[in-house]
């Protein structure tokens, strides 16, 4: 038990270190600006005095490492400074939108995960049949399509031509859960399609790898019924790859969510990021990037931890 705790602590430490380095990367990337942030905001027509005033207001007269520590300290408490464009607090702008995005991502994940794993196992068991070939072509097509292609197809057929679902996810405060689920169905479905395809292919590969192992053949040869081969012999070893697949795909959702939010005008953090990039509103860009990167690192960490917990061999690294 102690060994596991040490291994997990090590992984967590490593994850934290990665996050720290990434935060440095995100902060100092902006320092690469030709000139500095104040000049970038004010543009060509600025006088010396206004630039200097803005510099002081933004604390740019401090040395960069000091500003980094300030920024990181604020970020940990959810304070990301103020927007360069509107002057409003970045933390407040992000708050509700972050919840919306998390809602959309978990909505998609709750549908996609069980669906994809079940389908992946079925396809692995039926491999080299017509069904498997068809699933292969369909999932490959779905992976290869840009998210906006799938999104607009869904809008065209499920919204504009038939009117089943709203094309634009306008959310208002105090909506019931049912209404919320209905209004965000199309963006969630787009994400589900992409993520399911990825997850199915990975599950299929993992299960097929497993079924090729000698001990599975042994179990079959000694006459165990097929369900018992799967449940007793294959499944205990399948958890590690499946947990890995789920965590990696949830991490994949993060990137997918940005494009999908823009297609469906969904008030989430992805759209905020895209707007901020277009307006060069650096505090918002930095905050959103940090949040996305942190989630990504966390999910990858979860994948590692899941693999360690379900695989005894990894608990005692050499």
């Amino acid at each position: 038990m102690n060994a596991i705790a040490t291994v997990i602590a090590k992984r967590l430490g490593l994850g934290l270190l990665t996050l720290f380095i990434v935060s440095i990367l995100i902060f100092f990337a902006v320092e690469l600006l030709p000139g500095d942030m104040a000049e970038a905001v004010l543009g060509m027509g600025a006088t010396e005095e206004t630039t200097a005033a803005l510099r002081e207001r933004m604390g740019l007269d401090q040395p960069a490492p000091m500003r980094y520590l300030d920024w990181l300290g604020g970020a940990v408490r959810g304070d990301f400074g103020v927007s360069l464009v509107s002057g409003a607090s970045v933390g407040e702008a992000i708050g509700q939108r972050l919840l919306n995005t998390l809602f959309l991502a978990s909505y998609a994940a709750v549908i996609a995960v069980p669906f994809a794993i079940a389908l992946g196992v079925v396809v692995a068991l039926l491999r080299d049949t017509l069904f498997d070939r068809l699933a292969n072509v369909l999932t490959l097509t779905s992976i290869s399509s840009p998210e906006f292609f799938l999104g607009y197809i869904l809008i065209l057929y499920l919204s504009v031509r038939t009117g089943f679902f709203p094309a634009i996810s306008s959310l208002t405060a105090g909506m019931g859960l049912g209404e919320l689920l209905y209004r965000t169905f199309l963006p969630a479905l787009t994400l589900v399609l992409v993520v399911t395809a990825h997850m199915m292919r990975m599950t299929r590969a993992a299960i097929i790898n497993l079924l090729a192992e000698p001990y599975i053949e042994m179990a079959r040869l000694k006459g165990a019924p097929p369900w018992k081969v799967i449940v007793h012999h294959a499944l205990p070893n399948a958890w590690a790859p499946i947990i890995n697949v789920v965590a990696l795909n949830l991490a994949y959702l993060i990137t997918g969510v940005v494009l999908v939010e823009v297609v469906f005008v969904y008030p989430g953090i992805g759209q905020l990021l895209v707007d901020a990039v277009a307006k060069r509103d650096f505090p918002i860009v930095q905050a959103c990037c940090l949040i996305f990167a942190a989630t990504f690192i966390l999910l990858n960490l979860a994948a590692d931890l899941g693999a360690i917990l379900t695989n005894p061999r990894l608990r005692h690294p050499k």
Binding site: A29, P146, V262, L273
Partner: protein
């Protein structure tokens, strides 16, 4: 019945005939049933939902026939080595090659194929399709068909340039890391870890917000984002080759690093690297399309598929599917490259699964 539908039904009947000769009874029966169903519903004036299905199936049949024809002609008219490889190629792979050939033709000969100029305003905005405007006009009155043809050149060319640069960076550093080992290997590995711990799209957005959107910036940023992925693979593949006895023998002979890379490692690492290039291209292509769709990639008036979807997206709410065509063009190329890569991976691994 419309001529398109009649043509589709004829193609389907032809495909059913081929299926019958090839003893695919089930497929043959399904195709005949589909044609009968379409004919019956049309005859009784029932709603035309089956018509779309019939046209889609006919398109599939035509695509399959064309791919089979391409495969046959490659086997027939090329040297024995190439012919042997292609004889076992699945239909999906030859379909992929067919599409890639079509796209390259469009990209290379765009000015001769496209009826109008890339940024030439020739009619009113959103003009409907006509004989001179095959797919109608976009929001500024430019010919959408011509812009899609030019898009093949711009979108694919940009993605290709970025992939090549990423590949060059990643493969060279991966090979060096494998040969040199030690500190250089460790440092490069850690840098790759850090760069890969930020999602690609997010990293690209951060960089574009700082450096602005220009073609050169996009190529450089994407190369930096994807180089670590190539580095990882090259390092792993080359790492397995470097420990071989024949590399050791070459070292003892006193050969330099460049010789080792060129004559000993690359020939043994080529197959996975070529497949990786295809995959990498797909990722880069989709990322650039995504950026352009967000308005942060290729800037107007350059014709680019991602931006075209964005510019014409309002048409969707009128039930018009024109904006889907450039998006579909992106998907089709990515699928095709994936098909070919799948085949190459299967071939190089020599496995059935």
């Amino acid at each position: 019945m419309s001529p398109v539908l009649i043509g589709a039904c004829l193609v389907l009947l032809g495909a059913a005939g081929v299926a019958f000769v090839r003893r695919r009874r089930l497929l043959c029966g399904a195709l005949v049933l589909l044609v009968l169903a379409v004919a019956v519903t049309r005859g009784f004036g029932l709603p035309p939902d089956l018509a779309g299905l019939a046209i889609a199936a006919a398109l599939l049949a035509v695509a399959a026939a064309l791919s089979a024809g391409l495969k046959w002609s490659i086997v027939r008219f090329s040297g024995p080595a190439v012919a042997r490889e292609f004889r076992t190629a699945p239909l999906t792979a030859s379909f992929g090659i067919l599409v890639i050939l079509l796209y390259s033709t469009a990209a290379l000969f765009a000015p001769w194929i496209a009826p109008h100029g890339e940024a030439e305003v020739i009619s009113s905005s959103f003009a409907p399709p006509s004989s001179s405007l095959l797919l109608g006009a976009d929001q500024l009155g430019r010919d959408i068909f011509s812009r899609i043809i030019y898009g093949a050149r711009n979108s694919v060319g940009l993605a290709l340039a970025a992939t090549l640069l990423a590949f060059l960076l990643g493969a060279v550093s991966g090979l060096l890391a494998a040969i040199k080992g030690g500190i250089a290997d460790q440092v490069l590995g850690r840098i790759a870890d850090i760069l890969m711990s930020v999602p690609a799209l997010i990293f690209a957005l951060l960089m574009l917000s700082i450096f602005g959107t220009g073609l050169l910036v996009i190529v450089l940023v994407i190369a930096v984002i994807y180089a670590p992925r190539v580095f990882r693979l090259t390092r792993a593949v080359a790492g397995n080759v470097v420990v071989m006895d024949y590399v050791e023998a070459a070292r003892l002979r006193g050969e330099g690093d460049w010789y080792l890379i060129r004559r000993e490692i690359l020939p043994n690492a080529a197959a996975p690297l070529v497949a990786e290039f295809g995959l990498e291209f797909c990722f880069v292509f989709l990322l650039i399309a995504g950026l352009s769709f967000l308005g942060l990639g290729v800037q107007p008036p350059t014709a680019d598929w991602g931006s075209m979807v964005r510019e014409n997206a309002t048409l969707i709410s009128f039930g018009d599917m024109t904006p889907l065509i450039p998006a579909g063009a992106i998907a089709l190329l990515t699928v095709s490259v994936n098909f070919v890569v799948d085949w190459m991976l299967l071939r190089s691994s020599g496995l059935k699964e």
